[in-house]
Every structure is written in C-alpha cells, then in structure tokens.
Symmetry: C2
Subunit: 550 residues, 2 copies
C-alpha cells in the first residue's frame, strides 16, 4: 500500500500529499468537497479539553489553510468540477471500544515506547461520514492532523480529489524528535510554540530542549533563581516558571513530550556567574585548551558539595517538566580543565579517585536524584563510548551525535539509541566557521540537505537482535549562528525529513518525496510557519520537471 | 585615520561601531548624550521633500533604535555617567556653499561615477551643535545615516561615549550593489522595501533587480501586460506599474538607484506563455540540453520580428525605471536551443548570418533601443568573454559572475566592471543542489561566508591603467532556494561585507571588523530587518573572546 499515493499522482489538482506518508494508504479519484455545514463529531465520552481543542484547531485549519493545489493553475480550472462534487458533512471521531479516555497530554508523556499513536481514517467517496478511530486520544490527534492535511481549496471550496481515502497508520519508531538550543542565542516563547506547531504538523513527538549551556542560563528554576538572574543574557531573555509550564502544556496538547537537558558536567561555565565555587577553569585561557567552545568552565565533579548542588538543581528542574525523560548531557567533558583545577585535584587526592571514577560517582548521584523524581536519564554518546561510567542504567537513552557510525558501538553496549548524528541531522552545519578569527570551514560542513537526512538508515550496522534498542531520532539546531531570525528558515521544511524517516520508515525515495515536501512547505506557510522554498515555485507546481532526468 | 576606531575600543560601553567604516574617523572618549530637546536643523534652502523625510527618519531612528551597547551588562553600569554627561542639542545640516539643491533621488540616479556621496560630520564634545556638510543632498543622506548609527541607548538616554567625533567620508567605489531575483520565487513589495532599508543602512547605492526569468514574469509592463497576466505565478505575484514606481521612489529617497534587468536572449522561456512565436525550444526535453535550468526557452534572436518585439519590450520597461542603467543580461545563451529550432535555422539561412552574427545584430538592436531611452546597458560577462558582440559600446557595464578570475579578462577588453563573482558574492550558495533528483553538492558550494566576501580584492589582477574600469561590486541573491521566508536571514548581515569593501576600501581585517558587524546586526534587528546572529550573544558582547587566538 505504501506507494498508492504515487500511482494516483496523475489526475486533477489536489493530489493527496501527506507528510509523513501514512504506513498504509489507499486513494481513489473521486472529488469530494467539505459541506458548508461540515463538522467534526467527537464521539468520546468526557472528552478531555485538549482533545476538544484539537478538534477546534482542525476545524480552523480546514477553514483557514486555503491551500490551492500545487498545479500550474492552482486548481482554478477544476473549480466547476469541485462545485458539482459530492459533499462531506461530517468526520466522526471515536476511540476504539474499551479504550481508556486520557488526555492527549497524558498520552504524549507516557514513557517512550508505550505511547499509542496509531489511528485509522476513512473518507468515503459517497458523502457519508468520514471516520477516525484510534486506541488513544493521542492517536486521534495524529489522525486529525492527517485529516487536516488531506484537503485543498479552490475558490473557497475545500476539497480532496482522491476520495475514497483509507489510512491505517502508526509510527515506525517511537522517538521522533527535534532539538533546540536556547543557550547560545535566546528564543522567545512564541518561537518555541511555533516550532511545536511545526513539529506537530509532521507528527514529531519529542522536543529535546537544550535549555542552558556555558553561554547563558535562561531558565528560572525554583530555589535556583540566581542562575537565571545572573546567567541569562538579560532579564527579558529568561523562561519563567510559567513560561516553562506554558511551553510544556502547549507541547502536550500537540502530542509532544518535552525532554529538558541540563548538560553536565561540561557546558556549565555560566553557573560560575552565580556560584563560582562550583566551576573549574572558569574562563580559563586559552579556552581552546579547556573547552570545545568559549567560555571554558565545568562543574567540579569531584567535589561532594558540587555534586550535591548539581543533584539538587537537576531535581528542581525535573519537577518543572512532567516528561519521564531528562537529559544530563555529558558531552565534551574536558580533562585538562580538571587537571589544572587545584580544587578538583585536591578532591581527587582526598578521595583517592581517578577522574573517571569521580565522573562515575558524580553521574551516579545526579542520575539517582533524577530517578527519585521519576525520570529516565538521557546522555550524549561520550558517556558510554568515551567514559567508563559503570553506574549508567541500561534504561539510559543514548543520543548519538558525533557520527552516525557510532550508533553500532552504542548498541554493542546494549544501550537504547536516539539518532542525532551530525553527519545527517545537524541543521546548523554548512554556514562556515563561527569563531571570530577562523575563516576555515566548520568541522560539520557541508550543509546537511533534507535529501541527505532523508537517506538516513536507522538500522545501519545494527544487528537484528539490537533493533529493539533503536528508539528513533531527531534533527538538531545548535544556535551559534542561529536565533529567532532564522529558526524557521533553517529548520523547515528540512526537519520534516527525519519526521518521515522515523514515522513512515526509512528507504523512501527522495525524488518522489519532493512534491509532497513542497506541499508541506506551502501548507506550513499558510499556517504562519516560515518554511523556505526549496525550489523555484515553477518547479513546485510541476513535479518532476526540475529533475536532471526529467 | 582608518584605525582610529580600533584604538578607542577599550573604554566604557558604546564603542562607535559604524558600518561601513568611514574613510577618515577620529574619536575621543567623552560621553555625550542627546538632549531631550535634540533636533536636526536642516539649513538648506528649498530643501527637497526626500531630504526633509530623511531628517525625519533619522530623528526617528535616534529615538527608536534604543540599541544598548554590546557589552556584558549592556551599558547599565554606565547609566549614571551618561546621565551626568554633557548634552547635544542640535545637528546642523547644510550643503557646501554654492552646491546645487537637488533631491536625494535625483542625485542617486545620476550616472554611476558622477554621484556625490561624500560628507563631513563633526560631533564636538562640549555640547555645541554637531555639524554635517556635504556637496549634495545624497552626501547629506550618507552623513545622516552615519549619525544615526553613532548613538546607543541606556535607560532611555541616547548617547555616544566617544565624543568628539570627526568624520570625513566618501566611497572608495561608485557601484555598491545588491542583486535580487524576483523570478524564481516572488517577493512582496514590503520585502523589497525592507531590503532597500537594509541597503541604505550600509550605504549600498545600486539595487540590481533581476526582475524576470524563465520561471515567471512578475512585472506589469505597459503595452505588454500579457506577459505578467500569463507569465506571473498568479495574479497576486505581480508588481504593478504603481508597485514599481513605489519601489523606485522608495529606493531613490534612500540614495539607491534601481537597475532593472530583463535578461535576454536566454532566460526568457516565460515569454512563450504569452508569445510562443518568439521563443525557441520552449520546454524542450531534456532541459539539460537546452538550458542551464528548467524550463528551456530563448528568444528567437535571429528573427526580425522577435528582435523588434524585444526592443519594444525593453523600451517599455526602460520607461518604467528612471535609472540611467538597464541590464539586458546575456548570460548562459544555449547554442543547442537554436541549433534545433527550425525557425531560427530558417532565419539564419535567409539572412546568411551565423548565430554569433545574429546575436550581434540582436544585441545591437536592443541596446540601440535602450540608448534611445537614455540608458547605458549592462550585461553579464559572457557577452564580452564568450561571444563576439562587436556592437557593444565600451560604456557597457559588464558584471563578472562566473569567477572572480574573469575580471582581468573583462578589463583587458576595456569594459567597465562590476564584481559579482559567484566564488565570493553569491549569497545563495551552500545549501546543496536544488534539482529534484540530484543529491550532490551544488556547483557553487560551499556557502560564501561574510568573512570570504570581506577578503575580496577589487583590483586583483587588474593593472594600474585599468583601475578606472572597476566600478565596484555587489552581493547577489538568486532565489532557487530562497523566498520571503529567508530573504533577510540569507542576506544580512552578510551582504554588508561587500558594502564595506566597496565603501571603505578592501583590505580590512575581518577579525576586528566582527564586533562592528555584530553591532550592525543588532541595530538592523532593532529596525525590523531580520539579520541573523552570526555568533552566540555571549560572543557578540565580548569582542575577541570567541577567537581561537583569544
């Protein structure tokens, strides 16, 4: 069924262009328009408010998208046919009999792997009611998302030209993420919400919020408010506790879990602005000796006091985020920073530990604190590949970033994997080096095109026995050269590539995917997400005519 | 005097960070704030309205920029000192005695090389009136632009910390441009105006409007309205004659001349949507044989009828644009298109001309029509390097684009040069190939960083006797992968690099330029231009601390 879409590309404007492609899809060639009295009937007892809100949003998208088909005449020659077409007056939305009624938000925050996102959607050609069923409200949200993207508009008539439509859909992988760094440069809440809107459009379900880093600490943490008041760029560049709640709730209602990251023990220089006693090698020079980026500074991981402080801080942050996941980072720990820090050396001498042993103790303590808050920790790959952290539970989620080639080594250690490899998924690469006196290319050049991301194979070099370890993956935006001004343009529609790889499954053909990706970009723009044009409009309206082999 | 700025970087917040750097600049270290009654006294008899408007805009910028100094505390610790500082109550603006009073617009549209942009600005430290003088209203505009960028704001106090300031300024090169392609993707008028605002901020003076191309014809041309009605993407993607007038006037008032380009004889497939009789190889397949990009199609240059049509069209467009410049393009003419076009072959046979001879006749006819409208033609480099167009006047402006190495060959042929080399100045490069089935890198990868553009040498391989031929240069945005969504983010602050090369002169040090470029980016954002962050904010507030050698 996978390629049904492709077989029906030929007829009149309004080819069904869903992204991600449903796992099973069949379409016909009848035109069906939404009745002027069209409505969505929510047949769920005691429907949670986030589900009724999702229905309202869907109704609003159907009315306001007003996306003309991507054909040279934008469907205008079909206006008469559409006017004469049968009318659809209702979509009936219901849960599978016996399914528990929980909010979308609750369902979205279940542990990764236990979220129910599957749904079935049928749109008959004869004008009888369309039906959407799922085993959870989260599945209903995914189905509503598909439904809202199945229609085009010509002369005010909202229609599909491919009825009947039957979809049985479910994600190939449970983790489909997007990471945003709000520490190098700050993003207002509205930018994050718009990003969540875009994520939800392509059924991404995991927002990885790299909230703080050595450059700034923009989150107000109860009991630790000095970190933001001294470490944020300015008072207006802070996410208050209510901002965080707002973002987390907004995400939940859109089927997205928010995993926050407080990177430790590296990437923490900013903590010195409030607590210099906890930071080794703060602003040590040259920074190239002590850190991957300026300013240098790492938590004094061998200090009991710093370990306690860190555990308390992580616990406090954990209580702000309802997700079951929490990333403690662990990337790019710099040995020289500790080698030259007298306090750390004294602590190591006093306890008789090596640096690696101290890292183990530190990680054990901070992870234990998180587990006590009900969290499953996530870490970057170095914590299992470069260090000997014996205390890491195999429940730990390991995010592969340095190279896609490293996933196999993580699997060999029996850890769960999230793919975020810089060679496929780093959205920020390709703009040259950002350091002030380095005009060379950057380590992660060239630009990772959507086509490159689209070719990613989650199971490359993974044995069949290890496939259960692969949770999914995510594209990532580090913000050394990004801010609110290029957030949308650098991310969309590009980050939709991994959304399809991890929902529909890998191996899709980029050439035939392109027209659908155009469609997604056009629809995103209709919804206020500033996705860029990836080809001339001329090409977007003429699938295949801008191929070399056309 | 050039490096005076650098010598005064050390003191309190509010270092003077002008872009482009004035040719001669001296600064002191006194703080001077704008009086609450500060005003600009325009001492010009019968001042043209665009000059009085420029004064109003300057007053508005001074009030509304509210740009805090780029220091870690954003100047807050200096608030007391600023409050106690001397006040400046007036800027006196006057023309050099005897200078003719013409509008900025008129001055900006003078032939390139005869525009007077020099000015002198003095801001005393004792609170006595600042003075701005110039030989033309255009020079006054440049000086007002500098003045508005000399001030910061802390707690509502608008101030400079570097009085006295003395500037004697003039451009190194008369052509400082920016090219935008509005044919691959369409840009609303508001986007073009915002681009003109950004250009004017960095004293760019030549907007090269690549208005139409094979993909679309978005300009309504009197007498040729069928081209837009049939060749624009849709009715809302058309620049009406009043839109064009609006854009041209908006540019003029900001000291910018608008050179339109109607690319001929190639890049004209779209004309076939209204006049198939004038186009050879329209949509011929495979397009790779017949054109550099889809769709294929070129003006039948050997046809007398097509030549007349083209000359009339160019004349009609010429009358819409008051500039003395007009680009007829001439790039990427495809021989095979004509070799396989029976009509062209018949025309060549009938006249006994070779294709090159026909191109000569065609170019002579179209250029003659433009000269009759008072225009000086501009062409892309192929017209002098790849073809033997004997009819080209040496007044013709030749834009070098394929490679910076080709400028020397153009100079050797004694043509005037505008530098627009793809290897330095193409803003669109570096996002990978845009063709649908080609996942390789693009021909113009990698991304051209601002640092790369900044190292451009306009006189490389140009002999001293040829230096007079170098008019200047421009960065360019082709829009296969761009649209309104990434216009600002792809162009700014990057396109300011060439603005400084061609105003201040080449050879500037990129490392010391970076803090000023940050300042420009911050100020652009304050003015609604979505310039991107090129480093983490942490780095922008700490010059030099994000260098490798720091």
């Amino acid at each position: 069924m996978r390629f049904a879409f492709l077989l029906t590309l030929a007829h009149i404007g309004g080819a069904l262009a869903l992204w991600p492609l449903p796992r099973s899809l069949s379409t016909g060639n009848s035109t069906l328009k939404l009745s002027s009295s069209f409505s969505i009937h929510l047949k769920v007892q005691n429907a949670p408010s986030d589900l009724t809100n999702a229905v309202s949003r869907t109704t609003s998208f159907l009315k306001n998208d007003q996306l003309a088909p991507l054909t040279p005449d934008r469907g205008s020659s079909d206006a008469g046919d559409i006017k004469r077409a049968k009318s659809l007056s209702a979509l009936e939305v219901s849960l599978t009999p016996g399914a528990a009624v929980r909010s979308i938000t609750e369902e979205a925050r279940l542990p990764v792997g236990s979220r129910s996102e599957e749904y079935q959607l049928h749109i008959p050609e004869d004008g009888s009611a369309a039906t959407l069923t799922a085993n959870s409200t989260l599945g209903l949200l995914r189905g509503l998302t598909t439904f809202s993207q199945a229609f085009y508009a010509v002369s005010g008539q909202v229609f599909t030209a491919e009825a009947p439509i039957s979809i049985v859909d479910s994600p190939a992988y449970p983790w489909r993420g997007f990471m945003l760094d709000t520490a190098r440069n700050f993003f207002p809440v509205s930018d994050i919400k718009r990003t969540l809107d875009a994520m939800s459009m392509v059924k991404l379900n995991q927002f990885h919020w790299h909230a703080v880093d050595s450059q700034s600490f923009p989150i107000e943490v109860p009991g630790f408010t000095d970190l933001a008041s001294k470490g944020a760029y300015d008072a207006s560049s802070v996410y208050s506790t209510s901002d965080v709640r707002d973002i987390v709730d907004y995400a939940g209602a859109r089927g997205i879990d928010v995993m926050v990251e407080i990177d430790t023990p590296g990437h923490t220089a900013v903590i010195a602005t409030a607590h210099p006693e906890h930071i080794a090698c703060y602003k040590a020079s040259p920074w190239t000796t002590f850190a991957a980026e300026p300013p240098a500074g790492q938590l004094r991981l061998a200090s009991a006091s710093t370990t306690n402080y860190t555990a308390s801080l992580l616990s406090a942050v954990a209580r702000m985020f309802p997700s079951s996941l929490f990333s403690t980072g662990g990337d790019e720990v710099n040995d020289e920073c500790y080698a030259q820090d007298p306090e750390t050396q004294a602590d190591l001498n006093a306890t008789g530990r090596t640096l690696e042993q101290a890292l183990d103790v530190f990680t054990n303590a901070t992870h234990k604190a998180l587990v006590a808050e009900g969290k499953t920790p996530a870490v970057w790959e170095e914590m299992v590949l470069d260090h000997n952290v014996t205390s890491l539970s195999n429940e730990t989620v390991v995010i592969v970033w340095i190279s896609s080639a490293n996933a196999a080594a993580v699997a060999a250690k029996n850890f769960r994997i999230v793919h975020g490899p810089s060679d496929y998924f780093y959205l920020d690469c390709g703009a040259g080096e950002w350091l002030g006196d380095d005009v060379a290319n950057s380590w992660c050049d060239p630009f990772k095109t959507w086509q490159k991301a689209y070719t990613f194979d989650p199971l490359a070099n993974i044995t069949e026995a290890q496939t259960h370890l692969v949770l999914g993956g995510q594209q990532l935006l580090w913000t050394e050269q990004s801010g609110p001004q290029n957030l949308d343009s650098i991310a969309w529609p590009r980050a939709a590539a991994s959304a399809e790889v991890f929902w529909s499954g890998p191996g899709g053909d980029g050439v035939t995917a392109l027209p659908r990706l155009h469609d997604l970009g056009f629809r995103m723009r209709q919804r206020g997400i500033n996705a860029i044009f990836i080809q001339p409009t001329w090409c977007a309206l003429r699938p295949g005519e801008c191929n070399i082999n056309s």
